[in-house]
């Protein structure tokens, strides 16, 4: 009997020691804010900086980012497993608002997608517009000259890719069956690495591409530069506390976070991230741009792509949003 007790005590002591060691490396915040977001923001490490600065300002809030594709991020918010989201797909964001799940949408940042590919440019698309490039890559693919890798994960980037195919006159669901069209089903970095391995083209946000290129993870080059068609706009939306399915979401902390990222302080973080290493911010601050009015054409593009009826958030989807609009 005593041997049993000895063994049991030993196990409990060991577990206790490990638990203590584990918990002593943790801090105990009082409330949680869960933000579901895109993989591109996550993989560049920018969210860690947002988290750090936000928690410095509000030490009682612990922010957790769940990085998934935009599609999944929206579902997570709809299920109430996240309190708010930070995504980049205006069409689906509007649906989220219209279905009553979200309130207080704010456009916070932007960057551009670029088409990258092997240096040799087998499909010969350098210098073309994104639309023309897509068409030619498809032609080249059918002749076994080039390959394309798609995110294939229902993310914002994937949605952008599908919309360009659509404008070019093709249905991405048919393209999926082609030999030259590969679906990664992964985040941006994994997709870039796959394209690198296969010597294929893909569309990527500039931020993730630059980060990986600088780290020498990939050798792909920018073949088609940024333009109006490849604008990428990021927004935040808080869960609607009046909607029963998500009523238990932490609306208060969500609003604090939204107000933080649109503040001068928050926008400065966007402005600085990447400036040193890449010469430009990876996620350019939109609120700052709007305030300065320094690039009217770019502001117009963003409004055309990401605004609904002339506003980033129609009146009926605003709630307790003093000072935000």
């Amino acid at each position: 009997m005593t041997r049993w007790l000895a063994i049991a005590s030993l196990i409990i002591v060991v577990m206790g020691a490990i638990s203590y060691a584990y918990f002593s490396t943790q801090s105990k915040p009082k409330e949680h804010l869960i933000v579901s977001t895109t993989t591109s923001l996550y993989e560049t490490g920018f969210l860690d900086i947002l988290k750090y600065d936000f928690e410095k300002k509000y030490p009682s809030i612990n922010v957790s980012f769940i990085s998934q594709g935009t599609g999944l991020a929206i579902q997570t918010a709809m299920r109430g497993d996240a309190d708010m989201m930070l995504v980049h797909d205006a069409a689906r964001e509007l649906k989220f608002l219209k279905d009553g799940y979200g309130v207080n949408r704010k456009v916070i940042a932007y960057n551009f997608f670029v088409i990258v590919g092997p240096k040799e440019d087998p499909a010969n698309v350098k210098g073309l517009s994104p639309l023309e490039a897509f068409k030619r890559i498809k032609e080249s693919g059918e002749k076994k000259g080039a390959m394309w890798v798609s995110r294939g994960d229902d993310s914002g980037t994937h949605a952008k890719e599908k919309s360009i195919w659509k404008t070019a006159g093709f249905d991405a669901t048919n393209l999926r069956k082609m030999d030259w069209y590969l679906e990664a089903g992964s985040g941006m970095t994994a997709t870039l690495k796959m394209a690198d391995e296969k010597g294929a083209y893909t569309i990527t946000d500039l931020g993730t591409y630059l980060m990986n290129y600088n780290k020498k993870n990939i050798k792909l080059e920018i073949i088609v530069e940024a333009g109006k068609d490849t604008l990428n706009v990021y927004s935040v939306i808080a869960n609607n506390p009046k909607k029963t399915e998500v009523a238990k979401s932490n609306f208060d902390a969500s609003m604090k976070f939204i107000k933080f990222v649109v503040s001068d302080e928050g926008q400065a973080l966007f402005d600085n991230f990447g400036k040193k290493e890449y010469g430009q911010p990876l996620f350019a601050p939109y609120v700052k741009l709007l305030k300065s009015g320094s690039n009217a054409e770019l502001i117009q593009w963003i409004k055309q792509q990401a605004y609904f009826d002339g506003t980033e958030c129609p009146q009926e989807y605003r709630y307790q949003a003093e000072g935000l609009y």
Binding site: M15, S19, A21, Y22, T25, I66, R79, D81
Partner: protein, 229 residues
């Protein structure tokens, strides 16, 4: 190509030896989460195993069969089921277990309970029936008899517990789906390896993989050598 691997390997050893705080925190979390899972599954699994091993009752074969069948359940499948159940919009959402370390522990304990039950009950069952008869003839009570039988099958039970801990700490599906791989909160060794590889941080992935394998191997070896004494 091989060169980059060697460089990464060396960086990995640096990370481990320098005691990088985040690597340490992730390792401790893995041990804690899977350790708790093992304890939970033993709590309800061992008594059940003893009952299955020592007594016979209607439905015993069915229960044994049930746990044997669950031995090979794919972790992602179980992870998905748990994710749907534990979500705030799911039936067990009130427990707030999603995206927490405790949630992972509960999920992993469900995963490894079949291991504990199958192996431990086999160990108990295979102890010599003559031993039981001998104990009885020497005047032992029912409880004393069971204790003696248990002591005989102790190593079988210990191996069952070790096997289930190894399975828990090495699994990815549940930790990923139920935990969400949230930094400083639910990031464990397996999810970190998956994440850092996807981010292209090969050195860090290798470091974490080395630590994970070291944990699993050393526990197995330590128990194995203790047994031989």
């Amino acid at each position: 190509m091989f060169e980059t691997f060697v460089v990464a390997f060396r960086q990995a050893l640096d990370l481990i030896l320098s005691g990088d705080p985040e690597v340490l925190s992730i390792t401790l979390r893995s041990l804690y989460v899977s350790g708790l899972a093992t304890m939970l599954s033993c709590m309800w699994g061992l008594p059940l195993s003893v009952a299955l091993g020592l007594s016979s009752f209607p439905g015993k074969k069915l229960i044994r069969g049930f746990f044997n069948a669950l031995l090979g359940i794919p972790t992602v499948a179980l992870g998905l089921v748990l994710y749907l159940l534990l979500s705030k919009s799911g039936p067990l959402g009130i427990f707030h277990l999603l995206y927490t370390p405790l949630g992972i522990s509960v999920g992993q304990s469900i995963l490894i309970t079949p291991i504990v039950v199958s192996f431990a009950s086999s160990a108990v069952e295979s102890t010599d029936v003559e031993l039981r008869d001998l104990a009885r003839t020497l005047g032992a009570s029912s409880f004393q008899t069971s204790s003696v039988m248990l002591r005989e099958s102790l190593w079988g039970i210990v191996l069952a517990v070790i096997a289930s801990f190894n399975r828990a700490i090495a699994e990815l599906g549940i930790a990923m789906m139920v935990g969400g791989n949230i930094r400083y909160v639910t990031r464990v060794l397996t999810t970190s390896i998956a994440l850092e590889t996807a981010r292209g941080e090969v050195a860090l992935s290798i470091a974490l993989a080395i630590i994970l394998m070291a944990i699993v191997f050393s526990i197995t070896v330590a128990i194995g050598s203790a047994r031989r004494e």
